[in-house]
Symmetry: C2
Subunit: 347 residues, 2 copies
């Protein structure tokens, strides 16, 4: 998306960094009892103060029994009982809200431990325009290392071309664990980060072509990627688009679009378990027609999507149009990760 | 190893960087005809000049019909018909010899194309002691990118802890290849890079405990890791050890040891196809007793070891003594790569 205020406009130069910083934190309690703990007990005013630190604001909100979904001036925030997701683009500073957030979760939500944490982002197109500590992954890692002794930082893909950074917790394995691991709930996340998108598709996400988000959602076919979601969308003026979708059982999807031809960028993310990750990827590509894209798939042990990552591993080519240039797999404490990077065949 | 001249000795501080820079290049000819081409046609005097640029020298040499194996003052060099391997530790500068090497191969060896290239190294313990362009991976990548338009740079393992860097060629896939890929010969490389080694084992590789390399090779059990090799070893004064082993059919193994307790380091590398990579890893660990180590396994499509990497993928623990902290897999143009990092259980 591209709200006016965060576009860099130096005379002839206009630029907006669509690439998001994505922070996902799972909380727990040191005694394992979280009956009365809930992140949604943090007061709205405190969340608004938190977003000021991040340099963005809440512009829309939907909720159900399972999840609170916020559209932000720069992307999205999802809060459920014990999982906090903050995804922000432009020149926002989400890591600066980390320590205040940990204080809020202890004071209002009853959680005093971070069970797992994932901070990730694609390489920026213009890193020099970012605000400290987000100018360089090393800076981000230093900030996180100061808080988490067990943090591990990774770079997937080609460091000197398109790549994707991840910081997560990877504690030293113990010969005998003192306490049993908490039983995990099934979880998976699919993210597709696209650049060099089709200009005609991108034109849909401008006030010139659509009146509002509802029209853009329908015209682009976003509503058909994963059906039966409650959608909260926002069409920015003059251009840019954000949407959150939630299901009754607390799953989410979120799409953010920077349509400008010189720096077009679209992100798609969902935690809905899919019977075919390949089909979901195919639908997303048909909708947005990118020139290049990364795919990341996180699955934990109990995820029904766990075995579906194999089909992605076999996906050397897609639709006789895209060729895989990189593929990597990692294993972490609770999750397996697949990373792949595709580019369009030269036309 | 640790030849006197390259040890940093500032009064109380003594340090030697055992971690090697490893360069492996496969050559071909643009017309595919390499009947009369051979890297071993490069005159010895030219190789010696090349080693001056790298800041090391040839100290021992064995050869057979298939391979020339050099022990260097800092590690090893292996030259066969179309494959050049240079592995150098300390503060050597192997990337500076790259352009002179390409000129020599064209002039004397009859090869005018680089078919594949692998430049890799573990993170240094003391990067600030290195010489430009080897102080930082970004510098090394910039030098390589200036020569190879299709180069891709990767970092495996945790960037903020123990990790391993790789630069290789990863050309943009073509929808239809203009020329057929050359049929590859079976190839595989196993490398084990060990730190925090057992002081009693390390003491073997000193002039105090052994008279010469032959004694150290036998006493340590190095001769039993892979039997039936012609071994060319060197025991440095006062300490440090290097060995090359070659087989009749042109396979090699090489071991380099920096035994000083404050910065002990051992590297093991071989391209011998193994019926069990797991067993080879086990033998190497039993011989050197490291506290931490990385394992990397490269296999191409025709390698008989290709299916043996699966057993390494399942190797979460080794000998009830080591726990895997990181595991990653990548696929490149002609090779699959497995990276794993293990640490000893806290005692």
């Amino acid at each position: 998306m591209a709200s006016d205020e965060t576009i860099v406009n130096n005379g002839s130069e206009q630029y907006f960094e669509g690439v998001e910083k994505l922070l996902e934190i799972w909380f727990t309690t040191s005694d394992g009892d979280d009956k009365y703990a809930d992140l949604r007990n943090i007061p709205r005013s405190k969340l608004e103060s938190l977003m000021k630190i991040v340099r963005c604001e809440i512009i829309s909100f939907v909720q159900n029994d399972q999840i609170d979904a916020y559209v932000l001036s720069e992307s999205s925030m999802f809060i459920s009982k014990r999982r906090f997701i903050l995804k922000t683009c432009g020149t926002t500073t989400p890591l600066l809200c980390l320590e205040p957030l940990l204080l809020l979760t202890e004071k209002y939500a009853g959680f005093n431990e971070v069970e797992d944490l994932f901070y990730s982002r694609k390489n920026y197109k213009r890193p020099e325009l970012q605000v400290t500590p987000h100018k360089h992954f090393d800076q981000e890692v230093a900030l996180l290392d100061a808080i988490f002794p067990d943090g591990a930082a990774y770079c997937l893909g080609a460091v000197n071309r398109d790549c994707w950074y991840l910081y997560t917790l990877n504690p030293l394995p113990q010969r005998k664990r003192r306490v049993a691991l908490p039983s995990t709930e099934p979880d998976q996340t699919l993210e597709i980060l696209m650049t060099d998108l089709d200009p005609e598709v991108m034109a849909i996400f401008t006030k010139e072509e659509c009146l509002n988000a509802t029209e853009a959602t329908k015209k682009s076919g976003i509503d058909k990627i994963i059906p039966n979601m409650v959608i909260d969308g926002f069409l920015f003026d003059p251009c840019g688009y954000s949407m959150n979708g939630v299901t009754k059982n607390g799953c989410y999807m979120t799409i953010h679009i920077t349509p400008e031809p010189d720096f077009s960028y679209v992100s798609f993310e969902t935690n809905i378990p899919s019977s075919s990750i390949k089909d979901t990827i195919g639908k997303v590509l048909e909708t947005f027609l990118p020139g290049k894209f990364t795919v990341t798939v996180f699955t934990n042990q109990d995820s029904p999507s766990k075995n579906n990552t194999k089909e992605v591993l076999e996906l050397h080519q897609i639709a006789n149009k895209y060729n895989r240039r990189d593929v990597q797999q990692c294993s972490f404490k609770n999750y397996d990760l697949l990373y792949a990077f595709y580019t369009k065949f030269p036309s």
